[in-house]
């Protein structure tokens, strides 16, 4: 909210400087967002006189002026300077505005330097209004009356020395939406005193021809009280200059006296009003809820259709005003208005907020009523407005008509001064606590019962009183007080096993060469659908764009989009990963912790060693297993199941599962169709870990099982089997491993070779580890025979000749 310093001073008697005031405002919680101080921008420009203006010797259109300047003000020394000036009205005797060398001239965005113009020195500038940015006038330099006080600051002479302060007001402080409320805060802080502002009652000279009623259901909550009165014979011309200046200074446009007065009341006292043109009101006014479907052209010239339950003011013609939000054009005031009916009502914040939001009307009235205006000021506000209208527009006031009665918001809370100190951690004396509350308008009674003023709807308990005391006492003074750890001694670990696991997985995957990404949790519908998501259950009601409309089922589509973008930038080979949430549904418990990795292109940049090769399924498998191992999953015991979701290549993907029903990870080559849809140039392989699925180790002890080593030499034997192409290696390895459980230590695959006839050769090496004594050749041969027999039985494989 913007206000001028002079406006503030109509309520606050203060000697404080602008800096002191802005500092205090921010410190009080009324954060200053900007200050426009004319003294900063225009303070350096002073009135001067042209002693003599003669033709420039070398330029037809330029004049050479001897200027009498007053760098230290009217009472200071006089300095004569020479200025070259191009203005047509530069003449001997002119009183103008001088910009000295070194000053910044806003209109030309330049800091003046002494210069030489066509061989003649020039030391400053005579300014036009446009150069000072006070108007667009640029036909000549500023030409002031000859008796204007030489040496005076331009801003003082033209009454422009009124800083505008812009503050942000938090939603709990409707009282600060009126300048008087701001003044009250500053006074409580000690920056002056709040000026008394007695309200004088205007006696009614006649019976108001317009009456008001409030429907029974509305009276209870929506509109407990409505004050109004007719003022006859007003003249609604332009408002006086002081009012126009203030209205303009706070960023509004002067419209007419009546509108400007209502705006003044809104900003001065947080008391929005509405003024009806009596000539256009048919019968009495009635406050009620609408049935729905009624329409109205409001004062912003837009048509609104009302929903059932919205609160309005109607006359016999129908709806005339959307209560507390915006009036209608039909009964609004114009320049020709003669008789007016002034409305000052208390509108319920929630009712106004709901209607305002539905209608999407952002008016000053709505903004204030939904935060809460002072209900006790409803009648007084009308009196104040009446007096102002009579003063500015003339006319004669009727009696006041009142419907309903002012709601009783009186309440009080017990303040415990010790608790203030305990909570805030600042030693604020009890007297000072009471002084602050009193200055803010609270009434401190016996037994520390504190009554809340009617303009503070936000204060609803002791905690609010404490906040008032703390902010006025100034939190800047707060001094930190150490808070020891809850337990003494060595710090305890704080992470849960799941949190530790996520950290381990993250660092493991990065160690594998992946770059971690953080991508948006929402994604476009089409991409979500490719990965089994995109239902209405995970849809946003108000997405920011169609690219971010659905919560993603998994992180893969986001990584693929990232890959596509990077490929477009010229990076073809990528390894990206993310740890985050997948959303299976729209309920809080439907999120799953996932870690996804994606490799695209080749394993390395092209290099002299020939190590670059296309990424493949087995890279994804290796990464998935490494990451699973990092989170403590029993990688050796996992089942490899061919039921990966259909965004993977059906023949080149699998689920790693602990038992048939607990998938820990899925990996594989991305389905070519998915890659095409997502604009990613393959090959691309990926894995997803379901972080919550892997069991946590149950062991209570940190002791490792004993290491059993054999002293006998191990023997390795190689075998090559020819099997059908569709035989899976795992079956063969298992069979070999099972040939002699006690002595076969490791079975290692070292070659797979596809032959032409639908067969392949699988070469394994079997490591035999004797435990009781060195094996004889015969014993070793026997084990080899067992290996061959088992493999043959399990896979139909025959030993390659």
């Amino acid at each position: 909210m913007k206000f001028t310093l002079s406006w503030l001073k109509t309520h606050l008697d203060t000697e404080a400087t602008l800096d002191e005031i802005t500092y205090a405002l921010t410190d009080l919680g009324l954060e200053v967002e900007g200050v426009e101080d004319p003294a900063d921008t225009l303070g350096v420009f002073r009135l001067c006189r042209v002693i003599e203006a003669v033709q420039h010797p070398n330029a037809d259109r330029l004049r050479l002026c001897r200027v009498e300047t007053y760098p230290d003000g009217p009472d200071g020394k006089i300095v004569e300077v020479q200025v070259v000036c191009g203005a047509p009205n530069a003449r001997t005797g002119l009183v103008g505005v001088f910009a000295p060398v070194g000053s910044y001239v806003p209109g030309i965005d330049m800091t003046l330097k002494a210069g030489v113009i066509r061989d003649v020195e020039s030391h400053g500038m005579l300014c036009s209004e446009r150069e000072l940015m006070v108007s667009d006038e640029h036909d000549g330099i500023i030409d002031l009356p000859s008796d204007a006080p030489l040496g005076a600051r331009f801003i003082d002479y033209t009454n422009r020395n009124d800083p505008v302060i812009d503050i942000a007001i938090t939603p709990n402080r409707p009282d600060a939406l009126g300048i008087r409320g701001i003044a009250r805060d500053l006074a409580a802080r000690g920056l002056g005193t709040l000026k008394p502002a007695p309200i004088e009652t205007v006696e009614g000279a006649f019976e108001s021809p317009v009456n008001v009623s409030i429907d029974a259901g509305v009276l209870e909550k929506g509109c407990p009280v409505f004050y109004g009165r007719t003022i006859k014979g007003v003249q609604n011309g332009p408002s006086p200059k002081w009012l126009q200046d203030q209205i303009r200074a706070i960023g509004l446009r002067p419209i007419s006296a009546l509108v400007d007065i209502t705006n003044f009341m809104t900003y001065d006292r947080n008391r929005p009003l509405h003024v009806f043109d009596v000539a256009k009101v048919n019968g009495d006014l009635r406050v009620h809820f609408v049935k729905g479907g009624e329409s109205l052209t409001a004062l912003d010239d837009k048509d609104y259709t009302l929903d059932a339950g919205m609160m309005v003011i109607s006359d016999d013609n129908g709806v005339e005003s959307i209560a507390g939000i915006m009036g209608g054009v039909a009964s609004g005031c114009t320049e020709d208005t003669v008789d007016v009916f002034v409305e000052s009502a208390y509108w319920d914040p929630i009712t106004i907020a709901m209607a305002g939001r539905k209608l999407k009307i952002n008016s000053d009235a709505r903004y204030r009523f939904e935060r809460g205006v002072d209900p006790a000021f409803t009648g007084e506000g009308l009196e104040l407005a009446t007096q102002m209208i009579l003063d500015i527009c003339g006319g004669e006031a009727s009696n006041v008509v009142v419907a309903g009665k002012t709601p009783d918001t009186s309440r009080s809370y017990t303040l415990d001064p010790a608790r203030v100190i305990s909570l805030v951690g600042m030693d604020i004396a009890q007297d000072e606590q009471m002084r602050i509350l009193t200055d803010l308008g609270f009434v401190v009674g016996d037994d520390l019962q504190v009554a809340v003023p009617s303009w503070r709807p936000d204060v609803q308990g002791e905690a609010d009183l404490i906040e008032e005391i703390a902010r006025v006492a100034s939190l800047t003074k707060l001094v930190g007080v150490p808070m020891p750890r809850p337990s003494t001694g060595v710090m305890r670990a704080v992470l849960t096993p799941m949190q530790k696991r996520q950290g381990m997985v993250r660092r493991t995957i990065a160690t594998l060469g992946y770059n971690e990404c953080v991508t948006y949790s929402f994604i476009d519908k089409a991409s979500a659908e490719l990965f089994g998501g995109g239902s209405d259950g995970v849809m946003l009601g108000n997405p920011i764009s169609s690219e971010m409309s659905h919560m993603r089922p998994t992180l893969l589509p986001s990584l693929l989009q990232a890959a596509a973008k990077n490929q477009a930038r010229g990076f073809a080979d990528l390894a990206l990963f993310e740890i985050g949430q997948g959303f299976e549904g729209g309920e809080p418990e439907d999120q799953k912790a996932l870690a996804c990795g994606l490799r695209v292109g080749t394993t390395a940049p092209r290099n002299a060693y020939g190590t670059a090769r296309s990424v493949d399924l087995h890279d994804a498998k290796a990464d998935a297993e490494a990451a699973l191992a990092a989170l403590g999953a029993p990688v050796d015991r996992l089942m490899v199941m061919r039921n990966a979701p259909d965004w993977f290549h059906p023949g080149r993907s699998a689920v790693l599962s602990l038992g048939p029903k607990n998938p820990l990870a899925v990996f594989g080559e991305m389905h070519p169709k998915v890659l095409a849809e997502m604009d990613v140039k393959g090959p691309a392989v990926a894995f997803t870990l379901f972080l919550e699925n892997a069991p946590f180790p149950k062991a209570k002890t940190k002791t490792r099982p004993a290491l059993v080593l054999s002293d006998f030499q191990a023997v390795e034997r190689d075998f090559a089997f020819v099997v059908n192409s569709d035989v899976e290696v795992e079956a063969l390895l298992k069979a070999a491993n099972g040939a002699h459980k006690k002595l076969i230590d490791v079975v290692n695959l070292f070659d797979v070779f596809h032959m032409d006839d639908g067969k392949k050769s699988i070469a394994i090496s079997v490591r035999i580890q004797p435990t009781a004594g060195t094996l004889t050749d015969k014993e070793i041969d026997a084990i080899s025979e067992q290996v061959i027999a088992k493999v043959s039985k399990a896979t139909g494989g025959v030993l390659r000749g």
């Binding site: 007080v481 209405d536 108000n542």
Partner: protein
Amino acid sequence: MDGIQKLKTKYLGEIADAVDESAIETVRLAAVGKKGEVSLKMRELGKMTPEERQVTGPKLNALKNEINSAIMARKASLADSALEERLRSEWLDVTQPARPSQAGTIHPISQVTEEIIAIFADLGYSVAEGPQIENDFYNFDALNIPPEHPARQEFDTFYMYRDKGDNRPPHVLRTHTSPVQIRHMEKHGVPTRIIAPGRVYRSDYDQTHTPMFHQVEGLAIDKDISMANLKWTLEEFCRAFFEVDNVELKFRASHFPFTEPSAEVDIKCSWAGGQLKIGEGDDWMEILGSGMVHPKVLTAAGVDPSEYQGFAFGMGIDRLAMLKYGIPDLRAFFDSDLRWLRHYGFASLDMPNMHGGISR
């Protein structure tokens, strides 16, 4: 006599002249092989008189030994020069770039989150988490933001779609990490000290806002925790996080529905040459919002506000990362540009901790 000396001269000369193993072998056979000249001479010893034998025998033996030694020495020398020759031939270009390896990176948000966790863990805070799709009770009502409160509008909330038949208020994407306060106190009670880092969402997208960002919530509840403790905690945090000894914070009154009194916290800094320096200069920069937990919030979480009190704060993790590491654009955090990830990312084993320093 002459004969032996001749032989010696002859064979030692031939050994010295031998250029490779086979030449040496030839010499060896010719000299001390079964039918070699020296061997033949030794065979003749039998025919000699004992006196002759006593003179000639040792001489021949000495000759044989000398030749054998010379052969060994020559062989070793040949092997040395062969190795030297091989090594000379095995010269490689050491300036050639090494075989490429892949170094992954950790995203600044993860890194900074771990830094924050490390610092607060040292102060006795554990880490709490909560869902990102949140119901409006936890996101708003429990935090003293009733349905029609104007503050609700100020959050730019994302709402989840609701089916026509479902009359519950729509869920929201949590607008802050504060709901975790309630969930945590409900489940674990008080006293408590937690931080809750995580993703939050607001419908805002421009130069300095993204619809998703990261916050860390802090909560400390006990019987006598004051706002002065809050200030100390934040001072300690900033000192540790920004790794500067002189940190100055300023509390400025503000309003949040869930805390009372509330304060915005500014940190003293300088912006010389576009570069931020914490702990010096004359500027103040807002870094977080905080306050004493509102009694209504404690009540909503099942805690008796007449017995317990404490503070809460919320800071932007992304913003802290930007400030500490000089990362200019928030939007780039979520863009996954490989160049950005490599430039601003962290090494996989660069793990923040208190004993080694929070960053490298």
